[in-house]
């Protein structure tokens, strides 16, 4: 880690934030009936698994967990040279009539979330989509707001926020790079 990096959240801090988000999801939806979790690759999918595990501990019930890759839904895909590798979308359950909790690691411009919502709509018509993010760093370019936020971190556009995962895909810290 360089001097230009500040740790915003450490491992236990991330765990506490995700536990609080899990409680809020249960509170908002009055349990887990029809609730499904879909994480945005890559990062959000690992966090969705963590929230899924926390919900099971708290409620004793499981919510299905899937992952969506938004590469093919990006609004800048035609301009990018060269293209990103395309990851796999794995939603092995129907979204029809479900309360989808979309999970991402960092909420920034909102364009990724818009792309993810487009992708979800192509898979079916959910009852509603709620958004859970570990970090909201601001600078929205679209009218998108998270329902569940782990930590609000005001940033400048020159800064970068990164969630670091270990080789077992466990979130170990969140850093602010200047």
């Amino acid at each position: 880690m360089t001097d230009e990096m500040t740790v915003i959240l450490d491992g236990p801090g991330i765990k506490r934030a995700l536990t609080r988000i899990s409680h809020e999801i249960l509170e908002r939806n009055k349990g887990l009936t029809d609730v499904v979790l879909v994480g945005i690759r890559s990062g959000g999918d690992f966090l969705a698994s963590q929230i899924g595990a926390a919900l099971e501990v708290i409620e004793g019930d499981k919510a299905p967990v899937g992952a969506v890759d938004i590469t093919l839904y990006r609004d800048d895909v035609s301009n990018q040279l060269p293209h990103h590798p395309v990851g796999k979308t794995e939603i092995p359950f129907s979204l029809e009539g479900k309360k989808v909790v979309l999970v991402d690691d960092v909420l920034f411009t909102g364009r990724t979330i818009r792309a993810a919502m487009d992708a979800l709509m192509d898979h079916g018509r959910p009852q509603c989509i709620q958004l859970a993010v570990l970090i909201d760093r601001g600078h929205r370019e679209l009218p998108i707001r998270a329902d569940f936020v782990g930590r609000n971190v005001p940033t400048s556009l020159k800064e970068n926020v990164q969630v670091i995962f270990d080789d077992r895909n466990q979130p170990v810290r969140v850093v602010l790079e200047k």
Binding site: S78, G87, A119
Partner: protein, 311 residues
């Protein structure tokens, strides 16, 4: 993971192992789209693709058209009978006229080997994708064949692949030889001596076998090729029955391969000549899986050339 930097895909010979891996991995991801109720993503919205087919085709042209449409591109088909080539227009003139309509990608099949390199020189601002050129290469078929093998075995490295038939005239064989040898497979060729090009061994990890039996022995994959009647003179084989006897795949000689060997054919099949119907419709046949994988592979090719750089 490698980045794909090519503006054109003309031959697997031009791609590195990492670029082939990237195309196959993208195709695996694209398959998910083809299994949905809504089989469409907005990726190539606003792009125009011209399918310029100077030779007849059912599978490849339809597959490229579906691939383009599933990525939301606008696709236009030009077939041999509807092409101004029948009025004597040269390929260069056709290309310049098409370019004036501002297409983003031209997918072309042409009977002349190397015509795509010529076309790409004329159209620097448009991506060129090879859907088969003469006896040179058919990269999308090579990629979909590799994807089908990877589905079955989970790897390409170390596979023994027997390619049987008219090697000389087969662009499918050339693309597969280029791709498979780069990916670490061992390729064994067999065919009538009149249909195996001299010096094929020099292509890399390729062994030319004297008999079909030798090539098929313990093979993981048996890939049969179509007799290219339209590309060869009448002197290359005595008759179809004799060809079938020595180089046709039937349940008996398939037993020489590994018990779980997969049987492939790029189509269209001459039933009873290259393969018996028992094998075509048998449990080891992956021919329809090849066609299914074709759409995903072509989606991957169209997606990546749009992000490529001018060469």
């Amino acid at each position: 993971m490698a980045e794909f930097k090519h503006k054109n895909i003309i031959a697997l010979r031009d791609l590195t192992k990492e670029e082939i891996e990237l195309l196959l991995s993208t195709a695996e991801s694209m398959r998910e789209i083809n299994s949905r109720d809504i089989k469409k993503v907005p990726t190539l919205r606003g792009k125009t693709i011209i399918n310029l087919f100077y030779e007849s085709s059912t599978r490849t042209r339809t597959s490229f058209e579906i691939a383009g449409k599933r990525l939301s591109a606008d696709t236009v088909n030009i077939t041999p009978s509807s092409s101004s080539a029948t009025k004597g227009e040269t390929l260069a003139d056709t290309a310049l006229n098409l370019l004036a309509m501002k297409p983003d990608i031209i997918v072309m099949r042409h009977a002349v080997s190397g015509s795509h390199y010529f076309l790409s020189g004329k159209l620097p601002n448009c991506s060129i994708v090879n859907a088969g050129d003469g006896t040179h290469e058919h990269p999308s078929q090579g990629l979909l064949d590799m994807l089908t093998m990877k589905d079955r075995f989970g790897r390409l490295d170390g596979l023994k692949v027997a390619i049987i038939g008219d090697i000389t005239h087969s662009r499918v064989a050339r693309s597969n030889i280029q791709g498979l040898t780069k990916m670490g497979s061992q390729v064994f060729l067999a065919g009538p001596p009149t249909m195996v090009p001299p010096g094929a061994e020099r292509l890399g990890n390729v062994t030319v076998c004297a008999t079909m039996k030798e090539a098929v022995q313990d093979a993981d994959v048996v890939m049969m090729l179509r007799i290219q009647q339209e590309r060869q003179g009448k002197t290359l084989m005595p008759n179809a029955r004799e060809y079938s006897r020595y180089f046709g795949l039937n349940p008996e000689n398939l037993k020489l391969a590994r018990p779980d060997a997969m049987v492939m054919h790029p189509g269209p099949i001459n039933r009873g000549v290259e393969m018996s119907s028992y094998v075509v419709d048998g449990p080891q046949s992956h021919i329809l899986k090849q066609v299914e994988n074709g759409v995903a592979v072509r989606m991957a090719m169209l997606y990546h050339v749009c992000g490529g750089e001018l060469e």
